[in-house]
Assembly symmetry: C2
Homo-oligomer: 488 residues x 2
């Protein structure tokens, strides 16, 4: 069963997954910078690596999953200029930066709970690991890969490139960086524009600053992940994930920092999820096409025709492979909503179907091909297409066109529930709100209707059916009684 | 309206609440040490200060509420000996200490969500504020109120007592401490047994340790609250809360640290909630009478006759004044469950009652006496007795014995909803699960029943009533139709 292959950005090819110290797996994923509400991009990264985490555990690995909360040091422009994102928000809202952090962290967690994303084993905050980051800067200075300039400390990319190879992850070459890097504030302190900050000196107006040997200041953005990854997972660990936008410069810098400090590549498998576009356009504040998760779940946005449930959003994201771009549109979401509903209806049907002596269906092939898809770099869209094969099969058995043995039914149930609930992390939202009482009331009403039909009182029988339909309860008459489902 | 009086442990009397910098209020409350599941004691502290926070906001104050998570430095014995509680749990479970912290912090938050406890504005972690704590130790050494001994740093209580008065909060005198302090490990380094650790040297086996000028080690337990309170609320702030068990030595030490470092009393109003006993006995691990909140909500404990809903637990806690001891027993919880249900039923009735030209009831007196109770050091049991006066009044109006004008009804609704939902933070749990669909289905069934009655088909009418009763829907016939409620 353990035949998992992962596409490693480092080397750009699929590799068999073999953890460094089985059955333990160490996994680090870049979490949000908490100065605003989470959007579809956050959901995609979180759900992608949630499925990785869930499947590794499903396979029996003992996973330590670390995902950080960036609450200091992430500047508006990636190239060490502009204001700290959280500091700026705090200034605009006239509150203490940590209030901004707490507020948006809580809301992020609420979104993740709605999306049924499991909480990582450790969620370290950048501001909570200042000593660890200062120690790493000291180490880099000691080894000669960093220099102090005017109270700030920068990583010396040229020096590093001479001893090691810079750009192993992104494929970028130092030579090319000369031309592409724009001139920005605070760049004069650097030897080269592509050097990046390890420690930034901060003036008195800056509320988030700590003492160091160089200045009162704060750590550079790339530093936290190297320091916290090493602290909680060791100098070399198995998987590092994040969005494609983080590949350069963030992850490239992480590698350079770790190689320079500890003398080894920090990560065996680098994984990157692709980005989300909105109706074909890049998501950006200037285009005003940001859709937050709260807006998605409530429908409160001009870009939305209606609200979409968290599970619709989760299913939508899983219907694309994590390395492919994914375009948001109302049509796509509506299609996912419909598909998800079909899947959930089939799962309900699966609980009710009757077994025969013999199977006319091939359950094992579906199961095996489904796992092949998962093992092929978490190919969830192919996996889901196999789940829909199972849906067809379930419906055929239910309508009597095919039959299934009790042994095969057990396999099928086990497989479907395991994949859908445990690995893909989907939840049947309708079952959630259908309390027992609702079920009982509907059955009660339908029994009255059955009684009316027996008495040839078709007027009452039809009335009940119509009234139920008004409430969204669709009645299906059957030979031996009735069945019903909720329409939304 | 702003006539709030608070019992100040510092001085042991009720004082008018006058914030230092109105309308701002700074409030710090000691949070949990996250090495195990929260129990009734945690719920009592959290709910007590949640109501303080809610009422201050209700009064229009702009509150910054800080409550810490203790994740390092809290030793098994309060007198600086024994193992770090989290380190020990991590060792027993063979995980990284921060995994223990994350796990129990998540579970604590889940409990708080169930209890409808609002999240504080900032929830700082002790391990996330090591530089701030080290700075405070340096300041105390500099001012001569601390001494280094064998890599650890201790607070010099005798020296402090000479310059300031030690024991202002607890009323304990240094002279008396000589006799009561037991001899424990690690006490030899101290000048006096009642000196307390600011920094503890840690051996290599200790996973949670940081560099300092004195040793690789970790901060003393009392230090975090002084450092984080000062960081987020300033050198002097309005309210500091916590359980009565924290008064000494924890809060006494906090005062000594802050006075020694900053030269002023850190807190204007000290508030302490009293403790919980279980069937008359102290809650303790050795007596095996701990009940966790998860156990309470699920009924999974030998000490419990049944499960109690989060709102029953919340109501139970609010029915005692926070400064009184509170004894848990099944009988007491059952009584609270019943009382809470009566209150919620009255709130539902309130939405349906009809107004008259004139009131025969005195709404304003109930409202005024209720607020008097709240303003009298948050006297929630007296407040709740006034709410039950309102319940009687509501039921009298509904049964036609009394009448209410539309103006008075508005006042009453506004008052009841404001106090019950906003200030006391209660939630109508039944309304929660009664989805719209359930309501619609019941109404539909009852309309069929009305039709049957009109047609003198009493057999059907009775059948429907009985079937609904089986499902827990109690039908009340009225002149002009019907009413119903859910029985649990």
């Amino acid at each position: 069963m353990k035949n998992l292959h992962i596409y490693n950005t480092l080397g750009r090819k699929k590799e068999k997954f073999e953890p460094i110290n089985p059955p333990n797996v160490g996994m680090y994923v870049c979490g949000p910078t908490v100065y605003g509400d989470g959007h579809l991009g956050h959901a995609r990264a979180a759900i992608t690596f949630d499925v990785v985490y869930r499947y590794l555990k499903f396979l029996g690995y003992k996973v330590r999953y670390v995902s950080n909360i960036t609450d200091v040091g992430h500047l508006e422009n990636d190239a060490d200029s502009g204001e700290d994102k959280i500091q700026k928000k705090a200034r605009l809202e006239e509150v203490e930066p940590m209030e901004v952090v707490q507020y948006y962290t809580n809301r992020y967690h609420e979104n993740m709970r709605s999306l049924n994303v499991l909480r990582p084993n450790i969620e370290p905050h950048a501001s909570g690991h200042i000593p660890e980051q200062i120690e790493l800067v000291e180490k880099l200075l000691e080894k000669g890969y960093a220099y102090e300039s005017n109270g700030s400390v920068y990583f010396d990319v040229l020096k590093y490139n001479k001893d090691h190879k810079y750009g192993v992850l992104s494929g970028r070459k130092v030579e090319d960086l000369y031309e592409t890097t724009r001139e920005l504030d605070g760049q004069k302190e650097k030897r080269n524009s592509f050097d990046f900050a390890l420690w930034k000196k901060a003036d008195e107006k800056h509320l988030m600053r700590w003492n160091s040997n160089w200045s009162k200041g704060y750590p550079g953005w790339h530093l936290e992940c190297s320091a916290m990854g090493q602290k909680y997972l060791g100098e070399k660990f198995d998987i590092h994930g994040g969005g494609l936008d983080l590949q350069f410069p963030h992850h490239e810098s992480e590698i350079a920092q770790s190689v320079a400090a500890y003398g080894k590549e920090p990560v065996k498998y680098w994984m990157h999820n692709n980005l989300i576009t909105i109706n074909g356009q890049k998501m950006s504040k200037s285009l005003n096409n940001f859709i937050t998760l709260y807006e998605l779940f409530s429908g409160q946005s001009e870009l939305l025709e209606k609200e979409y449930s968290p599970m619709t959003v989760r299913f939508f994201i899983l219907q694309a492979h994590y390395r492919s771009p994914l375009d948001f549109s109302n049509d796509a979401l509506l299609a996912s909503e419909k598909g998800f509903k079909r899947l959930m209806t089939a799962l309900n049907t699966l609980e009710k179907i009757k077994t025969d002596e013999k199977s006319t269906v091939d359950v094992l092939t579906i199961k095996n091909t489904a796992f092949e898809a998962l093992n092929d770099d978490f190919n969830t869209p192919i996996l889901i297409s196999h789940l829909f094969d199972a849906v067809k099969l379930i419906n055929s058995i239910e309508s009597g066109k095919e039959s299934i043995s009790s042994k095969d039914l057990l396999i099928l149930k086990d497989f479907m529930n395991g994949i859908i609930y445990e690995v893909l992390g989907l939840i049947n939202e309708e079952n959630d709100s259908n309390t027992e009482l609702t079920d009982d009331l509907i059955k009660m009403v339908l029994n009255f209707r059955l009684e009316a039909k027996k008495n040839k009182d078709f007027a009452t029988s039809d009335l009940i059916r119509d009234k139920l339909a008004e409430l969204g309860v669709i009645v299906k008459d059957k030979k031996d009684g009735f069945d019903w489902e909720l329409k939304k």
